[in-house]
């Protein structure tokens, strides 16, 4: 356990000094600052006003940015460390591979989740100071959603890092994964449905297998519980899960995907060449 914490701490310290982290923090802090600056808390959309309006916008933007940010920065730094000889040296120290791998994930998780959460927390604190009503239920669920989103894409990133032997390959693979998930949000699904080659249930199942779509739908469900904007797909989803059931599924499924990917990554890492 001591080795795990030491490795996690090491990764946190290394990341805090990395340029990607500074940009990452700036992006999410900047989003919240800009949303306040543009007076989003004063506007009303679909009945949303105040901080809930800001949180809805923030989570939508985060869903667009966080996955690609986590994928690229994680595979870049892990594969980069391997290429630069960091693994060769640090893995010559008496640290177990489990402590190393999971410690690295833990440290990285803290580093990627903290700025995203801190930006949202900062918005809440500002709202409290400014006397704006805070939707605590929404804040809690969005926090959980962000936590799971970070875990899901971190797990996938660590799997890619374990498989790819060079930074270029790792980056290319990460980008490809993100692009595939992105295309399956709408373009490909719509395409196959229009062609009528698959049953609507299959298309919806495919969509729900995509963590990006799961997050998107869960975020929508908070301000549109009947998922009216999704059209007929909403019937399948709500029939299958119900509103609460889907909210739970949106947290559990991506977490399982992330954990499964990380576990597979660990087994591949343990069985292969380390540096």
């Amino acid at each position: 356990m001591k080795q795990l914490w030491l490795t996690a701490k090491l990764d946190i310290v290394e990341s805090l000094r990395a340029r990607w982290f500074q940009i990452y923090t700036l992006v999410f802090g900047g989003i919240v600052a800009l949303l306040f600056l543009f007076g989003l808390t004063e506007s009303r959309v679909l009945g949303f006003i105040g901080l809930s309006r800001l949180l809805v916008t923030y989570i939508q933007l985060t869903m667009a940015i966080l996955p690609i940010f986590v994928l690229i920065t994680t595979v870049r730094s892990v594969a980069g460390d391997r290429e630069a000889g960091v693994f060769e040296y640090l893995l010559s120290l008496p640290v177990s591979l489990a402590a190393w791998f999971w410690g690295k994930i833990l440290g990285r998780y803290v580093v990627i989740f903290t700025p995203v959460f801190a930006a949202m927390l900062g918005a809440v604190l500002w709202a409290l100071i400014a006397g704006i009503e805070v939707p605590w239920g929404m804040f809690g669920y969005y926090t959980a959603l962000l936590a799971v989103m970070a875990a899901c894409f971190l797990g996938i990133s660590m799997l890619i890092s374990a498989v790819a032997r060079s930074t270029d390959v790792a980056q290319g693979a990460a980008f490809l994964v993100w692009l595939t998930l992105l295309l399956f949000l709408d373009l490909i699904l719509l395409g196959v449905m229009i062609q009528g080659k698959v049953a609507p249930e299959v298309a919806v199942t495919l969509a729900l297998a995509n963590p990006l779509q799961v997050f998107r739908t869960a975020a929508l469900a908070l301000f549109d519980p009947q998922l009216i904007v999704l059209g007929p797909s909403a019937y399948v989803i709500l029939d299958l899960f119900g509103v609460t059931g889907y909210k739970i599924f949106a947290l559990a499924y991506p977490a399982i995907v992330g954990l499964a990917a990380a576990t597979l990554g660990y087994h591949l890492f343990r069985r292969g060449d380390l540096p």
Binding site: V95, D273, P275
Partner: protein
Amino acid sequence: MIKFQNVVKTFRRARVLDGIDLEIGLGERVALIGSNGAGKTTLIRCLLGEYTHDGLVTIEGRSPRTERTAVLGGIGFVPQLPPPLKMPVGQLIHFAASLCGSDPQRMVALARRLGLDVDGVSSRQFVRLSGGMKQKLLIAIALGRDARVLVMDEPAANLDPEARKIFFELLAERAESATMLISSHRINEVSTLVNRVIELDMGKVVLDDRVADDVSLSGRLDCRIVVKRPEPAFAKAMTGWNFTDRGGGLEWTGDVAGPDRLRFIGMTSRYVALISDISLKETDQKVGADEATALQGGRAKDALLAVADGGTAN
């Protein structure tokens, strides 16, 4: 103590280690030499449990791959290229000491002995240190624990003469209690440190010779050099070796670490036309021979001669 049994490592279709069989005992100081791509780094990585391979690698009967923590706790490693770690020096020392169950102060003390002011660079990122400072710190971390095996890749390459002297003394202190595996492209870098030479070529052991253990790791040579005329380049070189100018740049005196004699002679050979008188005298009682390391066995001797001639052993 260290055993390689029919170790084979293949990257895709390239066989980098081709049936390595070696046994290295306690107290042996082994030079692992060979040209680029000979398999030195791969062999070291197999020894550190970092590479999967066919065959068997054991240290005191245990596998560094399956019993990592226990085995690596007894290995001190100095890589050829320092890793680009962004963490501060102080934290790196504490990280390594915590994992190795060692006292960080022991590592700090060793770094100080090597001439690294740890307090002055404690908060500086490791990657921002100079090459020599990094090397000193990595040596201090490797030696600042109870390692029974020391694996070093070109360990003295970036050290100044004074730090090399201390480094040789530190190795001398561990000579009886540790096995050392020192990797180098060139035998002249390590010949005086070792009592066995193993040369790899195309993944095979092509030379395995014992070396006369005549050069004391802690020995010193009193040196006096007289030159025909003052020469700035020569003066700069001598100052680099901490020699003292005894008069107008014509007479220089100083001492040279015993294991550094070949490197020193190599340096002076560049000014052979300028030098009118040179003397090297052992000051360590343990050492009797004046010659550079006497290698036993034909090929090892040839390799050393090639180095003395300015060539590279391969």
